[in-house]
Structure formats: structure tokens, C-alpha cells
Subunit: 215 residues, 2 copies
């Protein structure tokens, strides 16, 4: 039986398997995001994971399925990152919560630019991979839209249609880190440093929430 058809059962009855599987998924996420779906070869992924190339087809039936697994793992990471702070948070006002969400989102996109790179690669043209990404992106879009509509109603952000705010946030937030090597080369700033990440979050919040007041 192909193992990919029944994940998440009788763990630890057998030697390893799942650790190896995770290493493959991580290597795939790294290489797919850096070189795109077509640019990353299964042999490169296998080499980085330290396994033989046919093992990818054993655990995942195809390159396409492996790509989906890599995407899933990155969205899981995003979920964990976004929920980590919000869980511990009691109930605060909407604006404070929104500010934290925005800052956490930028922090994630800076520390894991892989996800945004993949989205930018695969959603420029309609297709099966864009459809797959949409199943993950759509709920995020919906809740973000709702958040911005709510904030605009309260006057906490400018009266801009939520969709535009969404793309300004998801574009203006991660791009500096998605283009990390370019940014380093152009500006000399290190976009992986905490200082730069915080400064960018400050900049976005300053513009979105007018905070601290401007002018």
C-alpha cells in the first residue's frame, strides 16, 4: 500500500518513516520556494533531505503531491505563528488585536519568506496549483477583509476598500523579506535581523493605523 494514502496512524510501531518524511517536506519547501515548482528538481530535494530520489515518489506519489505537502506544512507554520500570541492574549479591543495580528504577520513573513515566495510564484496564472493555494488563502483573506472593514468603520484605519488594504498589507509587508538578498544588496540592511523586522512592522503600522499620529 502506498503510504501516502494513510497518514497519521500507528506511529512508532515501525523504525522511522515520519522523521524522514518531514525532512523531505522541509527540503521541498525550501527548494520550491527558492527555485519555483519547475525549477526545483526532485533530485535536489532528495539530496537536501539526505535520501535517494525514488523515496520522494514512495512517500508522495508525485512531485505535485510533494509540493502540496510542502505548502500544507508552511500554512500550518503560519497558523501556529499567528495563534501563538493571540492564544495567550485575553480579550483586548479590536484595534490592539489588529495591530498585533499585523505585527505577527510581518514577523512571520520575515522569518519564513518561503510561503509568500510560493504564493507569488504560483498565483500569477490560473491553474491547479493556484487553486490549491486558494483553499488555504481564501479563509485568511476573508477574515482579514472582515477585520479591515471593522477597523475602517471604527475609524482606526483610513476608509480604503478592504481588498486594497489586504494587498497593501500582504504585498508591502513581506516583499522586503521575499526579496531579502536584493534588499541586502541594495540597502545594506540585513532583512533577517530583528531590528529591521521591527522597523518594518513599525513602518506598516505607522501607515495603516496612523500610529504614532501623523503628521
Amino acid at each position: 500500500m502506498t503510504p501516502s494514502s494513510e497518514r497519521g496512524r500507528d506511529r512508532s510501531t515501525r523504525p522511522s518513516a515520519d522523521p524522514t518524511r518531514d525532512r523531505i517536506v522541509n527540503a521541498a519547501a525550501e527548494l520550491f520556494s527558492a527555485r519555483s515548482f519547475e525549477g526545483a528538481t526532485t533530485r535536489q530535494i532528495a539530496a537536501r533531505a539526505g535520501v535517494a530520489q525514488p523515496l520522494l515518489n514512495y512517500h508522495f506519489t508525485s512531485k505535485e503531491t510533494l509540493w502540496q505537502a510542502a505548502v500544507d506544512s508552511l500554512f500550518t507554520l503560519l497558523d501556529q505563528h499567528m495563534n501563538a500570541r493571540l492564544q495567550t492574549l485575553g480579550d483586548v479591543d479590536d484595534v490592539t488585536r489588529a495591530r498585533l495580528i499585523v505585527r505577527d504577520f510581518i514577523g512571520f513573513s520575515a522569518r519564513h519568506p518561503q510561503l509568500h515566495r510560493i504564493i507569488l510564484q504560483e498565483s500569477t496564472a490560473a491553474g491547479a496549483r493556484m487553486d490549491y493555494l486558494l483553499t488555504h488563502v481564501r479563509p485568511i483573506y476573508e477574515s482579514t477583509i472582515e477585520m479591515f472593514a471593522n477597523l475602517a468603520e471604527q475609524g482606526a484605519v483610513p476608509a480604503i476598500p478592504p481588498t486594497h488594504l489586504y494587498y497593501i498589507l500582504t504585498g508591502g509587508g513581506p516583499t522586503m523579506f521575499v526579496l531579502g538578498p536584493e534588499c541586502q544588496e541594495l540597502s545594506g540592511l540585513d532583512p533577517t535581523s530583528d531590528a529591521v523586522i521591527e522597523a518594518h512592522a513599525d513602518a506598516i503600522c505607522r501607515l495603516l493605523f496612523n500610529d504614532p499620529p501623523f503628521p
Copy 2:
């Protein structure tokens, strides 16, 4: 003699050549931006240009060189687009000029998202193609930085380090159009329509120039 070594001389002494060359460059720009360097095949490009595949190696010595020619043509397009309005413009104050530059830039990124797609594909990791892009991007970055520093000094934009403003503009501006198919699917908006393009330019200017005043 390989024709790619001496471009731009005795035009019209021979049958065609350059029209064909242009069709190839355009097809290359289209396909490289849509499917990335590795994802686009020389046969696909040749098919879209309506020529045989070996002709690509005749006019351009390699796929890499063809990619460079496609990039050059897109940056030329950007130059023309950005200068078109500014030429006709007399001397106006810095802020008005900056607002026009920002709006023109967003207009270009909406009507020619190919260039930003290519930059996003090839500047995520250091390499020869990123270096080539940098020769075009660096002057743009430098002048934009200078513009923002000047505006911040005048209090026309918030006091945010210019590099961050640069990535907020070049990220938040084009992303909606780079991810056009996704945007259409998510929001129902048509990111190729003039109305949406103008609304996005309004949104960016609202945030950057606080215009109209907020709150």
C-alpha cells in the same frame, strides 16, 4: 557572424529580422514572467512567437541571453511609461511630482505586471540573474530613496526610513496585479480594470501622503 553580437546597425537593408526578434523578446517576456526562467521552455517561447525553436539560439546565443533581452525590454517599457507624463509636466512642487510618480508606477505595475513577476522570481536568491536585475533596479532604488528622504524631510510622508517606504511601495503597489488571477478569484474585482487600478493608486497615496487627510 552571430547577429546578437552587433545589434542596432544598418536597419532596413535586409528583409525582416528585427520584427521577428521583437516578437521573440515579447513572447519571452510573457512566458518568463508567467512561468519563471526554468518553467518557460524555449519551444514554448518559439511557438508563441511563431518561429522555429533554433531561431532563439540564432538571435540570442542562449536562453540566459534571451532572458536578459526580455528583461531589458521590460525596463525600457518602464522608463518610457514613467517619463511619458513627467516630460510634459513643467516644474511643479516635489510633493505633486512624487504623487504623480507613485501613481504612474502603480499604473505601470498594473498594466505590465510581468516586470515585477520576474523580479520577484529571480531576486529571492543571489545569483547571476539577480545581479543582472540589480543593474536596472539599483538606479531606480537610489532615486526613490532620495525622493522619499526629501519628502520625509518636508513632512509630506511619515518619518519612516526610505528603504522601508521603498519596499512598501514596490510591494504594496504591484502585488494586487502580480497576483491578478488570485485577486479576481478572491475578491471578484477585476485588477485589470481602470477603476480598480485608480482605486489602488488612491489607496497607496492615501496611506503614503495622508491624502485626503486622515483621520
